[in-house]
C-alpha cells in the first residue's frame, strides 16, 4: 500500500505499479509521531507526517512539494530511514554535503523516530513545479512521475502495467452537486486540505439552510484531475501530466491565475451565492490569497482561519451561521445577485 496526500499524485500511477493507493487525510491535529508540536508548524502537515510514521502497513508514502512545511517535514522519515540503513531509502544513492561531513551525521529527529517499533516507510518527495506556463514545467512533472515509477519498482512490485480501466479518470469518484431551484443556498468552500474533523463545516452549512455545491478544498473537487480524453496522448505519463499537472488549480501555482479561472467558471456554472474561504493557521500560501479573494469575489465571502483544534469551535460555528443568514437575507433582497458574473 502506498499512501499519498496531494491531489497531484495520480493514484492510477500507483496502482499501475501493483500497489494499492491510499489517500490519507488525518482525522485530527493530535496525531503523535516524530514531529513535536512547535510554534509555526502547520497542524495538517504535522498530523499527516506523524500519521504515516506510525502506520506500519505502508510500503511507501508520496509527498508533493507543493508547500514548504510538508516538503520539509516529509524529509524526516526519508532521511531517518536512510540513516537506519533501510534498503527502502527513498533518495537512492547517498550524497550531498552529508557525505563530506567531517563527523558522522546523525539522522534528523533521531530520538523520536528510533522510539518507534517499526521501520518508517520510504518517502518519495515529488517535486510539483510551481510554475506551469512553460512546457519545461510539464516535462519536469512527467520526469517526476517516471522517477516515482522507478522508486515503486525498487519497492518491489515490478514494472508499470497499464492501469485498470476502472481507475482511469475515476480517481475521485464523487460528482459535483448541482443546486435545485428553490432549495438550499448554493455555497462554495475554497481552501487547502482539511483534516477530517474540519469537514464538519459542510454539515454546519447544511444545518443553516445551505448546500456546498462547490468543494474547492484540497480534499474536494478542486483536486480532481481533468477527465480522460480517450483520443488523447497514447503515452500514459504524458496523459497523467496533462490531466493532473495541466488541470488542477491551486494557490501555490505561479502565477495563481488557474485558481481564479477555475473558481469563476465553476461558481458561475453552479450559481454560487456565497464563498467560505479557509486556511490552516501558518499556511502562508492560502492565507495570502484571502485578501485578494475578498477583493475579487463579487458576493459575500467569509474568511475562516482553521486553528488546528478539534474540528470547528463554537465561535467558528457562530460565524458560519451568521454568514449563512447574511447570504440568505442578501439573496432574498437580490443584493448579492451578480449582474456581471464573477470578474
Amino acid at each position: 500500500m502506498i499512501a499519498f496526500e496531494s491531489p497531484f499524485v495520480p493514484p492510477e500511477w500507483i496502482e499501475a505499479h501493483g500497489f494499492q493507493p491510499m489517500r490519507i487525510i488525518p482525522e485530527s491535529p493530535h496525531e503523535e509521531g516524530p514531529w513535536p508540536l512547535s510554534e509555526g508548524m502547520c497542524s495538517y502537515a504535522r498530523a499527516f507526517i506523524n500519521m504515516i510514521s506510525h502506520t506500519p502497513a505502508l510500503a511507501g508514502v508520496v509527498v508533493a512539494s507543493t508547500c514548504d512545511q510538508m516538503r520539509r517535514m516529509a524529509q524526516v522519515p526519508g532521511e531517518t530511514a536512510g540513516a537506519r540503513g533501510s534498503s527502502r531509502f527513498a533518495s537512492g544513492a547517498a550524497g550531498g554535503a552529508a557525505a563530506n561531513a567531517p563527523v558522522a551525521p546523525a539522522p534528523l529527529l533521531a530520538g523520536c523516530c528510533h522510539a518507534l517499533d517499526h521501520d518508517l516507510p520510504s518517502v518519495f518527495v515529488m517535486h510539483v513545479p510551481a510554475t506551469w506556463q512553460d512546457p519545461a514545467a510539464h516535462r519536469y512533472f512527467q520526469a517526476e512521475l517516471r522517477r516515482m515509477g522507478r522508486w515503486m519498482e525498487r519497492l518491489g512490485c515490478g514494472r508499470a502495467q497499464q492501469p485498470q480501466p476502472k481507475f482511469v479518470g475515476d480517481g475521485r469518484a464523487k460528482q459535483p452537486q448541482t443546486p435545485s431551484p428553490g432549495t438550499a443556498l448554493p455555497i462554495a468552500v475554497l481552501g487547502p486540505h482539511l483534516l477530517r474533523c474540519q469537514e464538519r463545516i459542510f454539515s454546519i452549512v447544511s444545518a443553516n439552510g445551505g448546500v456546498v455545491v462547490l468543494d474547492g478544498t484540497g480534499n474536494g473537487e478542486r483536486g480532481w484531475p481533468a477527465p480522460v480524453d480517450r483520443r488523447g496522448a497514447a503515452n500514459l505519463v504524458e496523459s497523467l501530466a496533462d490531466r493532473y499537472f495541466g488541470a488542477i488549480p491551486d494557490a501555490f501555482r505561479r502565477p495563481n491565475t488557474l485558481l481564479y479561472a477555475w473558481l469563476k467558471r465553476e461558481a458561475e456554472k453552479r450559481e454560487v451565492r456565497g464563498l467560505i474561504f479557509l486556511w490552516q493557521t501558518w499556511c502562508d500560501i492560502w492565507h495570502a490569497e484571502a485578501w485578494r479573494m475578498r477583493e475579487w469575489w463579487p458576493g459575500p465571502m467569509l474568511s475562516l482561519e482553521l486553528q488546528g483544534g478539534d474540528g470547528i469551535d463554537a465561535a467558528t460555528c457562530g460565524r458560519i451561521e451568521a454568514f449563512m443568514e447574511a447570504v440568505r437575507n442578501g439573496d432574498a433582497e437580490g443584493r448579492f445577485r451578480r449582474k456581471r458574473g464573477v470578474r
Binding site: G40, D68, G92, G95, G96, P105, L108, R254
Partner: protein, 471 residues
C-alpha cells in the same frame, strides 16, 4: 586606504567598538588626519537624519574600512536612483539570492537589486516607516515573515525606486516569499517566475554533479534549472534590448568570483582568528554585499578588499575589538534585528561561522563550464532548496572548520521554513557534536525581548564554556 587609517595601534589602544556618536568624533579626527572618502562617504549620523534610527542603538567597529562599509550599504538607494536616471533597466530580483544579479550586472544596461532586502527596513528604521502596517492592511499580517515589508515598500514606493521588471525563483523556496511575490504581481508588478526544484539526491547510477559548496545534485536537475535561467536571460534581454551573451556572462561571473574570493578570505580570518578581528555586525553586512553587490560591482569589491586588509593587519598585530576568550558561536539564519549581532558579543561571545541562508552566494561560481551551466549549479546549491539534513551537514562542517563551540539558530518570525528546519538542524548538530545548540527568535525590533534574549544567549555561552572542545 593608507595604513595610517587602519585600526592599528593608536597610542596603545587597539581596535574597539564605538557608538554612533563616537563615530562622529572619530571620523572628524580621521578626516583631519587625511582620510579621503569615496563620494558616498560622510558622517554616519546623516543616515539617522534620513530615518535609519536603529543606528543609534548599535555599536560599530571603529576602523575607517568599517565606516566605508556602512556608508556604502546605507547609500544604496542613491545608487539605484542614479542607475534609473541613467536609463538602466532596474531588475528587482527575488529569492534566488546570488544568481540573477550576477547575470544582470554582466551588462551595463541592467542594474539589479534584491527586493527581499526590504526586510531590513523595519529594523533599520525602527518601524517608523509603516511598511508592516501596509502589508498587514493587504492581508499579509505578522503570521508572515518580515519579508512582507517588500509589499509595503513597493506600495509606498519610498525606499527604493520601483523596479522595471521583477524576477522570482519559486518551487522549493519559502512560501512567504512566494506569497509576497504573487501579491506584487497582483498590484501591477509583472513577475518573471522561474523554477528551482527541490534538490534531491541522485539515484544510483544517475549522472550527477557536485555543486559549489559540496552538495550533489542530479545533472537532470541542473539541466532543468539552466533552461529556467535561459528564460530569465531572454526576459532580461527583451526588457533591456541588450545582448546578454555568454562572453558577457563569463565576465560577470569572474567579477562575482573576485568578490567571493575576497569575502572568503575575510570570513576565514574574521571567524577563526583570536582575538576576533572584526565584529559580527560588520561581517553580516559584508556577507550581504555578496548578494547583489550593493548596486556597484567594482566598488563593492573595493569596500570588501579594504575591510579584508584591515582584518589582515589586525590579525598580524594580534589585536581585535573583542576579548581573547570570547566564546566562538556559529550563527544560523540572518537576524531581522541587527542589534542582536551586538548582543552576542555583549554576552561574551563572538561569531565563528555563519549560514545566513545564502551560502551559495558566497561559494565561487564554476568558471570551467559554460556560464549558464555554472549559474544553474549555483542556483541549485541554495541551502533552502535541499533537505534540512543537507543544510545541517554543511553547518556541521563549518562548525568544525571554524572551531565554534556553540550553535545559535535564529528563527525568523513567521517564516514557513523555520517551524521545522531549526528543530531538525538542532537535533542533527546535537547528535553529532557535543556542543550546545539553541534556537532563539528575533523579531525586526527585539528591544522588548532584550532581557530574555540575553538570558538565553548567556545560558548557551555558559554551557559552551563548560563543554569540551568539539571532537
Amino acid at each position: 586606504m593608507s595604513r595610517m587609517h587602519r585600526g592599528l595601534p593608536r597610542g596603545g589602544d587597539g581596535p574597539r567598538k564605538i557608538t554612533l556618536q563616537e563615530w562622529g568624533e572619530r571620523r572628524e579626527r580621521l578626516v583631519l588626519e587625511g582620510l579621503r572618502e569615496p563620494w558616498y562617504g560622510g558622517p554616519l549620523q546623516r543616515h539617522v537624519e534620513e530615518g535609519d534610527l536603529r543606528l543609534t542603538s548599535l555599536m560599530f567597529d571603529d576602523s575607517a574600512s568599517a565606516l566605508r562599509l556602512w556608508n556604502f550599504l546605507l547609500s544604496e538607494e542613491d545608487r539605484l536612483r542614479e542607475h534609473k536616471a541613467a536609463g538602466r533597466v532596474l531588475v528587482g530580483a527575488m529569492k534566488d539570492l546570488g544568481t540573477v544579479p550576477v547575470m544582470a550586472w554582466s551588462v551595463p544596461d541592467l542594474a539589479a537589486f534584491y527586493l527581499d532586502g526590504a526586510w531590513w527596513i523595519p529594523c533599520v528604521m525602527e518601524l517608523s516607516a509603516p511598511l508592516m502596517d501596509v502589508a498587514s492592511s493587504m492581508g499579509l499580517d505578522d503570521s508572515f515573515c518580515p519579508v512582507r515589508a517588500v509589499l509595503g515598500a513597493c506600495v509606498t514606493g519610498e525606499h527604493f525606486p520601483l523596479p522595471d521588471m521583477v524576477t522570482c525563483s519559486v518551487g522549493a523556496t519559502c512560501d512567504d516569499l512566494s506569497a509576497v511575490a504573487q501579491r506584487l504581481e497582483g498590484i501591477g508588478h509583472p513577475v518573471t517566475w522561474w523554477e528551482v526544484p527541490h534538490r534531491r539526491r541522485p539515484e544510483r547510477g544517475e549522472e550527477s554533479v557536485v555543486l559549489p559548496g559540496g552538495f550533489v545534485a542530479p545533472q537532470e536537475q541542473v539541466d532543468f534549472v539552466r533552461g529556467e535561467l535561459e528564460r530569465v536571460r531572454a526576459a532580461l534581454q527583451t526588457r533591456s534590448r541588450c545582448k546578454l551573451d555568454d562572453a558577457a556572462l563569463s565576465s560577470g561571473i569572474k567579477a562575482a568570483n573576485r568578490m567571493r574570493a575576497v569575502l572568503e578570505e575575510l570570513r576565514s580570518l574574521a571567524y577563526s582568528a583570536v582575538p576576533c578581528p572584526l565584529p559580527s555586525l560588520e561581517m553580516q553586512v559584508a556577507e550581504m554585499l555578496a548578494l547583489h553587490f550593493c548596486s556597484d560591482v567594482e566598488e563593492s569589491i573595493a569596500v570588501l578588499t579594504d575591510l579584508a586588509d584591515e582584518v589582515k593587519a589586525r590579525v598580524k598585530a594580534g589585536v581585535g575589538p573583542l576579548s581573547r576568550d570570547a566564546v566562538p558561536v556559529f550563527w544560523v539564519n540572518p537576524v531581522a534585528d541587527m542589534r542582536v549581532m551586538n548582543l552576542i558579543e555583549d554576552c561574551g561571545g563572538r561569531v565563528a561561522g555563519t549560514e545566513y541562508l545564502f551560502s551559495h552566494a558566497l561559494d565561487p561560481i564554476p568558471e570551467d563550464v559554460q556560464p549558464m551551466e555554472a549559474l544553474a549549479r549555483t542556483a541549485l546549491a541554495d541551502p533552502m532548496v535541499g533537505s534540512a539534513a543537507d543544510r545541517a551537514a554543511r553547518i556541521l562542517a563549518d562548525v568544525v572548520k571554524f572551531g565554534a563551540r556553540a550553535v545559535i539558530i535564529s528563527r525568523i518570525p513567521g517564516a514557513s521554513h523555520c517551524a521545522t528546519e531549526g528543530l531538525a538542524i538542532k537535533e542533527y548538530v546535537r547528535a553529532s557534536l557535543d556542543i550546545p545548540v539553541m534556537e532563539i527568535e528575533v523579531p525586526p525590533l527585539s528591544d522588548a525581548f532584550g532581557a530574555s534574549l540575553r538570558t538565553r544567549i548567556d545560558a548557551v555561552l555558559e554551557a559552551a564554556r563548560q563543554a569540551r572542545a568539539p571532537r
